[in-house]
Symmetry: C4
Subunit: 257 residues, 4 copies
Amino acid sequence: MKETFIKTIENVDLNEPIFIEALPGIGHVGKLVAEHMIHELNAVKFAELYSPAFPPQVFVDENGIIEPMKNEFYYLKSHGEDNRDYIILVGNTQGLSPEGQYEICSAIIDFVGKHGVKQIYTLGGLGTGQPVDKPKVFGAATTKELAEMLKGHNVTLRTADGGIIGASGLILGLGMSNDMMGVCLMGETPGYFIDAEASKAVLTILQKILKVELDIAKLEERAEETRKMISKAQQMEKEMSDRMNIIQGEEDLRYIG
Amino acid sequence: MKETFIKTIENVDLNEPIFIEALPGIGHVGKLVAEHMIHELNAVKFAELYSPAFPPQVFVDENGIIEPMKNEFYYLKSHGEDNRDYIILVGNTQGLSPEGQYEICSAIIDFVGKHGVKQIYTLGGLGTGQPVDKPKVFGAATTKELAEMLKGHNVTLRTADGGIIGASGLILGLGMSNDMMGVCLMGETPGYFIDAEASKAVLTILQKILKVELDIAKLEERAEETRKMISKAQQMEKEMSDRMNIIQGEEDLRYIG
Amino acid sequence: MKETFIKTIENVDLNEPIFIEALPGIGHVGKLVAEHMIHELNAVKFAELYSPAFPPQVFVDENGIIEPMKNEFYYLKSHGEDNRDYIILVGNTQGLSPEGQYEICSAIIDFVGKHGVKQIYTLGGLGTGQPVDKPKVFGAATTKELAEMLKGHNVTLRTADGGIIGASGLILGLGMSNDMMGVCLMGETPGYFIDAEASKAVLTILQKILKVELDIAKLEERAEETRKMISKAQQMEKEMSDRMNIIQGEEDLRYIG
Amino acid sequence: MKETFIKTIENVDLNEPIFIEALPGIGHVGKLVAEHMIHELNAVKFAELYSPAFPPQVFVDENGIIEPMKNEFYYLKSHGEDNRDYIILVGNTQGLSPEGQYEICSAIIDFVGKHGVKQIYTLGGLGTGQPVDKPKVFGAATTKELAEMLKGHNVTLRTADGGIIGASGLILGLGMSNDMMGVCLMGETPGYFIDAEASKAVLTILQKILKVELDIAKLEERAEETRKMISKAQQMEKEMSDRMNIIQGEEDLRYIG
């Protein structure tokens, strides 16, 4: 594997699908929304992306089974009031290096472009670093019209105070050079745990924009499970960070051969 | 996007244009000078540079509109007392990695070389880290003659005390291998805010060297606006840095999948 | 040397060999096991891997002789109760950058794939950062069947608490895309010294799984030597780290030219 | 400039030249030795190496003249008692990233290989981090015979206590794969200043090995000048490090665009 590649699982014929990107990021806000959509609407996986720009590791699931780093493309046909097709992108990682982010996001834009995508929604979290009472949804858009549309849906526009870092920003930026328009929706989140409340806020607005109906109560349930996981997650995080320190100590040992 | 590329917007025929580089750097000193020149002299954008070596992000402007990372080439025809043509390079970012800096600056030198450039001015700031009373202008040159010329314009030559880091240095270095001569002008600046005073000092000398007339008073106005932005900028900077910390904390969360 | 390459020393014809990876990692646990197997079973070196993704350095052995960074492939024919062939990978380093890890591990998977490998064992340590009384062996597998097999051999399955970082994880992940199945065995270790006790725990289980007989007492001896080296190793490590600091200080000196 | 390249200035025909590498490193020990040889023996520059793996910057000399990052190859014909030809490599920088070091050192080995080099001497410093009374010379070699030869010249062999990091190590390691033999000589140095005493120790041994006569008294003089520069150097180093901090603060400002 010398460069990013996308393995097609099913050849699908989509009609100007709407592209929803929700790779893991702050508070896993976007990821939770997209995974809920995939499960509730029975989206079908049709391609997988692998990249040497992912972290050089694998995950282990709850049964001790190894899971490689990957991004996954799902599709939906004729969905919602407008009978639109969709491509939804989720995954267990993003690119690690800046150049790697460009390589992967370019491959994604190429791929969805070939499937006729003209419109992009990228989903993420906006970390506040402090407790959030009722999460707002922040947004930005590639055109004035889309920015106005967001305001009409009670999205707070981000204005000139920093950028959008990672896949959620870069996919929109690269899309602009490929005649794709789009918006980024960011749920306000403390950022230091998996935040289902922020996900619900994003999903509530997203389904109004897309005219799609979803059982938000079920995201409640998913949220509940997630909340139970949080303390365990924090414990793991600490363990991981301890381990990383050990590995780095070990690096020096390598010099002994 | 696998490598740096330059998108031509207008084909222009220029006569040994003088190249002015002012990508963002310390105190945004060069950037302010170049943007003032572009606006006052009605320079015309004719090309844009995109690169996978830019930071993997987008900016959001004051209206919530997404702006991709890019560098922009402007031109001016038959300007100043000597009726010279000009290419001015500005942008919202520089390359992130060392190798990326080389890739981008090489692409820039190739591009301006094809337009007949033989002479380069790179503009930047020289950070002192402490308040500056009346900013001096420091300089360095690729030839003895140009160094003498700088001294004649009250530029303080930098001498053997460090190098010139980033695009302002590298573009001159790479230009030397392509038979281009040039100088770097650096306005003395505390470095921790957008410094219009340092920009005025650089512009004052630059317009004498180039025999170009510019309304420096208007840079005063621009400076005033900039100064108002400073406190906001510092606040944002803090916010950004807080957010980066959250993102990095989040990196560990990714391990949970 | 622009990319990773493998130099073949002997052309060997192997019959669906089992691949054992044991590049240096936490506590040198895997490396000790593999080196013991190589010496006790008289495995034969048949290929060497070199890579620009290795650290830019050489080692010096106990006689002042320079040893380049490399990974080494050994083979065994018709070994153990099942008369299986083996490929064993050891070395004095792993790839340094994440992209480098992918480049090297991909080259390894390509190479062993051409030799007919369908089954992989990666060996490593799991660092606890604190003293370990009686080291457990942790494991993970690419399939449910292999995970069950591990449980049957008293291996503690790792479950959803982080990933497997480095070659031991990545080789299994990349192998999965190449129809290779496999497991990772990790000996519990404090992680901050070369840990022969953890190696013995891993070897005890590995030889039962593979139905291979090895003189574990001799690993005792090797362990004894290793233990004597530990205090020297720690001293060297400190020296190395001091030197690195000096080098980094020196980096600044370079600016003086 | 997409990759490392070597610009030939003069085509020279050399007879199995001895290659001496002395790129800048700890205490500038090797660099001082090689520059002294070049000046005393009137070596002639015949090639220059440029690389995108060098730091993205330029230096400014004592007259305000810009000097690009480069490595320089000099030659000597029929020198010393044995009438040997020589190639001497000096420069103002080494590669920055690990991969860059490999790219550059591979280009160097290719280049000198084409000129018939079979024997390499790499010169450097070994930092102790504390004052050194009478600097020893440490060494390592690619063969037992060369290691014995070093011992015969009162060189202290480095033994299994760490590696040789950077060009001095890597050039020997890559040379081994190209049938070149060689040694590394390292002068003991505190490491935090330009150390002419360590250089004299290395040169004393080197000229005995090579049977070349050099005016070591003149290195005394050069040493004296160097010593005067030291306090200035340390001051600059501080200034540079302050400036780097400012630049890094500035990185955040870039987000404002």
